[in-house]
């Protein structure tokens, strides 16, 4: 699924889930992803705008893109970190 030049292999639609639900969905998704894999989560919870970028940075993953879908939903695209060899 394309988002500009960024491709992701999995999209989790967490719309309607409340804080910290979308973040939890992202964490679960990344847990089962392989290193370097890019996945997306869509959230309609306003807390995600602060919490997801903060968590992604803190956890050493990479926020590839943040895209507003409509007036209430945002897509966060995240690449799972690659551990140093």
């Amino acid at each position: 699924m394309p988002i500009g030049p960024v491709l992701f292999s999995l999209e989790i639609d967490a719309r309607g889930s409340h804080c910290p639900g979308p973040l939890m969905e992202l964490i679960r998704g990344l847990k089962s992803a392989h290193e370097g894999e890019v996945i997306a989560v869509i959230s309609s919870d306003l807390g995600s705008n602060t919490d997801i970028p903060l968590w992604v940075r803190k956890s050493g993953n990479e926020l590839v893109a943040v895209e507003k879908i409509d007036h209430e939903a945002t897509r966060f695209v995240v690449r799972k970190h690659v551990r140093a060899q």
Partner: protein, 164 residues
């Protein structure tokens, strides 16, 4: 040393002598929560705090006491509709909105926190005795029954302690 008045401040007193080795700075990456309340508004709040801390990489230590322990009796969470007495007039609104918006229950939140982080839940032995409860009477999410000193030892060097 933190938490001391500057020497010239009103209220300054020389610190009490402290036995060597008994002061531990708050250095552990841990959130400690005393969960005293058994109403779903506060259980929800505690579960979300615990989940947020676990997500941000903190250990979480929860101490269930009084109504907080009763709320973890087996199957109790399935029928618990209590809200704080000071907002009793919001009970029906809260329950309706939680159902309408498919809000995950506080128990599900705690299960999620345990899934992603190091979350330990202990029930207060005093409360257990008071209400004739055994660990087996509580939901399996509760790890053990401990005394207050065990919790205090964990809270002593925690970065944060909440009383909910």
């Amino acid at each position: 040393m933190y938490g001391q008045f500057p020497p010239d401040a009103p209220g300054h007193t020389d610190p009490l002598p402290v036995p060597a080795g008994s002061m531990t700075p708050a250095t552990a990456n841990r959130l400690a929560i005393v969960l005293f309340s058994g109403t779903i508004d506060k259980l929800m709040s505690a579960s979300i705090m615990a989940t947020g801390a676990a997500a941000m990489g903190m250990d979480v230590e929860i101490f269930l006491t009084n109504w907080g322990a009763l709320a973890f009796r087996k199957d109790d969470f399935k029928t618990n509709k209590r809200v704080s007495a000071d907002f009793a007039d919001y009970q029906s609104t809260l329950l309706e909105q939680m159902a309408a918006k498919h809000v995950t229950s506080w128990m599900e939140n705690l299960e999620g926190a345990k899934e992603i982080g190091n979350v330990h839940i202990a029930a207060c032995s005093h409360t257990m005795t008071l209400f004739d409860l055994q660990l087996s009477d509580l939901e399996p999410i509760v790890d053990e029954v401990t005394g207050v000193a065990a919790f205090i030892e964990g809270a002593r060097d925690s970065a944060m302690t909440l009383y909910i």
